[in-house]
């Protein structure tokens, strides 16, 4: 992928991120922070690739750490977000 294309993707993604988050009520700030924290857990995918393609011992060690950390990001992010949003689930359903 050439740099310009990456730039376009970054620009569009940034635009999307901003649009998606504007006009969010303050009470959702923390859950959203947590939710987006979970989403960047996608780094796990990269970490797996790194570890999966690791050849030297150092690479393996660092790769292992990367996967471990990323997995923590993913699972912890999910659990915490889910717990915080529980409250909205019930409220939202109550509303109907």
């Amino acid at each position: 992928m050439e740099g310009w294309v990456a730039l376009y993707i970054f620009m569009l993604a940034a635009f999307t991120g901003i649009e998606v988050i504007s006009r969010v009520p303050a009470i959702l700030h923390t859950p959203l922070m947590s939710g987006s924290n979970f989403i960047h857990g996608i780094v796990l995918v990269g970490a797996m690739v790194i570890l999966g393609s690791a050849e030297t011992g150092t690479e393996q060690v660092v790769g292992f750490i990367a996967v471990f950390l990323a997995a923590g990001n993913v699972v912890g992010g999910y659990v915490v977000t889910d717990r915080m949003l529980e409250m909205f689930k019930t409220s939202g359903q109550k509303k109907d």
């Binding site: 940034a14 504007s22 995918v45 660092v62």
Partner: protein
């Protein structure tokens, strides 16, 4: 034709990226928020599963599974166990882990260069940038975690602290540039990473607990950015998009949060040292007045089961009665039970509140007397006090030296949450301080009664 791995993997990533965006969007509204995290969760599962068959993955499966298992279980266990009030530090922790992972990826990529692998400039730049950012987010988040968790009570400060921070930060950048231009060597790489980590620590240490949520949000955005950059390095568009979307959304969020605290972001990060702890809204000196903004107050009421509105002279002065009734109607439509409690001496003439509520068209059967309503406060989610002061002052019950001691009051302090609308620090007719405003479950919504009522209306409406 059966699609091959080289179709399935990118297709799965693509799907995951779409679902991430959709999920994040859904999390932006209380109604769909829970659905949002579910969606994002599924996307993550897809992306992770498909990575096992990624063309570049060709070994170390055992290690991989072990690492995932250890990380997951640890995170699961801590995440489930932690108290709701401790959530912010957990977010910091998990976020730091993400940042660390990004930095680790950068490290491996740069190690590969040392090992002879060729990288084009753009990729190197991305790897280095992601590395710095990831490392700072990692160490900074861990400090934030430690502070919030209470493991690190003191906020170290010394003269010239900012200059030292700057130096460390600059050193990291310089080493990064050197890596890009001259290529990495083991020492430089190590130094580079260590400096970045120290920079993260130094930046975070002096920031007070009250400002932590903003800082965590910032590190969250940074991790997103780092992940996005490493995504480019690994030519993985799903990582790029998810990372940058989070980076942008997180930046936006950080700004919103700083705004909600009425402080510019720069103030939080650089100049606000020390002050924050004393007067910030999260400072936990019992006896602080804690303010709230109208949107949050509106959401609290919108998702309540029962709200009691206590009008006082301030409602009359602000002529807010019509707006208050509009708010009541809105809440009632959402299924919230809303009633009015009138204190016998609210206002400045007998029946003052009745006159106004009648003018606004509030039906009589929603209006309760003190004797009839006081027992209901403990089961009330939100008591909304509008420009009342003396008539809700618990000093009448608690402080024998108070001139109003013995006067029956509306026990709003016994409600689960109390929101008080008033313009500022003005006292009521009796001219005495009100203990209610310092209660733990009281939040002050400062502003003119009418304007704030309007803001609450807008807030509730924005939830539809």
């Amino acid at each position: 034709m059966i699609p091959g791995i080289d179709f399935i993997v990118p297709a799965a990533y693509f799907l995951a990226a779409v679902m991430f965006i959709y999920g994040l969007k859904a999390m932006g509204s209380p109604v769909t928020a829970h659905r949002g995290i579910l969606f994002a969760g599924i996307a993550m599962l897809i992306a992770v599963l498909v990575t096992f068959v990624h063309p570049m993955v060709h070994g170390n499966y055992g290690l991989m599974i072990a690492a995932i298992a250890i990380g997951s279980i640890a995170a699961w266990w801590t995440g489930k166990r932690v108290a709701m009030t401790d959530m912010p530090q957990m977010i910091a922790l998990y976020n730091g882990m993400g940042g660390g992972a990004a930095a680790a990826i950068a490290t491996v990529e740069l190690l590969k260069v040392i090992g002879g692998h060729e990288l084009d400039t753009t990729t190197t730049v991305m790897a280095v940038a992601g590395g710095i950012i990831g490392a700072i987010a990692f160490s900074g988040s861990l400090i934030a975690f430690a502070k919030l968790q209470g493991w690190m009570r003191k906020t170290w400060r010394f003269g010239g602290q900012q200059i030292v921070n700057m130096l460390f930060f600059a050193a990291t950048i310089v080493m990064g540039v050197m890596i890009i231009i001259n290529g990495p060597d083991p020492l430089l790489l190590t130094l580079f990473l260590v400096t970045a980590l120290i920079a993260g620590i130094l930046i975070t240490v002096p920031i007070g607990g009250a400002d932590m949520p903003v800082v965590i949000s910032l590190y969250n955005a940074l991790t997103g950015l780092a992940v996005g950059f490493e995504g480019y390095v690994l030519q993985n568009p799903a990582m790029m998009i998810a990372g940058i979307v989070v980076g942008a959304a997180g930046t936006m969020l950080t700004q919103l949060m700083a705004k909600a605290m009425n402080r510019p972001l720069s103030n939080v990060l650089f100049s606000g040292f020390g002050k924050a702890d004393e007067d910030g809204p999260a400072g936990d000196v019992s006896g602080d007045m804690k303010s709230i903004d109208a949107t949050d107050a509106a959401i609290q009421m919108a998702y309540a089961d029962k709200v009691i509105i206590v009008p006082g002279y301030g409602m009359a002065v602000g002529q807010a009665q019509h707006k208050i009734w509009e708010l009541t109607e809105l809440l009632t439509q959402r299924g919230v039970k809303v009633v009015f409690a009138i204190h016998p001496v609210a206002g400045r003439m007998p029946g003052h509140m009745n006159v106004l509520l009648a003018e606004a068209g509030v039906p009589y059967d929603l209006i309760y007397d003190l004797e009839d309503i006081n027992a209901q406060f403990p089961t009330t989610d939100v008591a909304l006090v509008i420009g009342a002061n003396d008539v809700v002052n618990p000093a009448a019950r608690k402080d024998p030296s108070s001139p109003i001691f013995g006067m029956p009051i509306l026990d709003v302090d016994k409600a689960r949450n109390t929101i008080v609308i008033k313009r500022g620090q003005g006292t009521g007719f009796s001219g005495i301080e009100n203990l209610l405003f310092f209660e733990d479950n009281t939040r002050m919504l400062y502003g003119d009664a009418q304007k704030m009522a309007q803001a609450l209306i807008s807030g509730v409406k924005s939830l539809d």
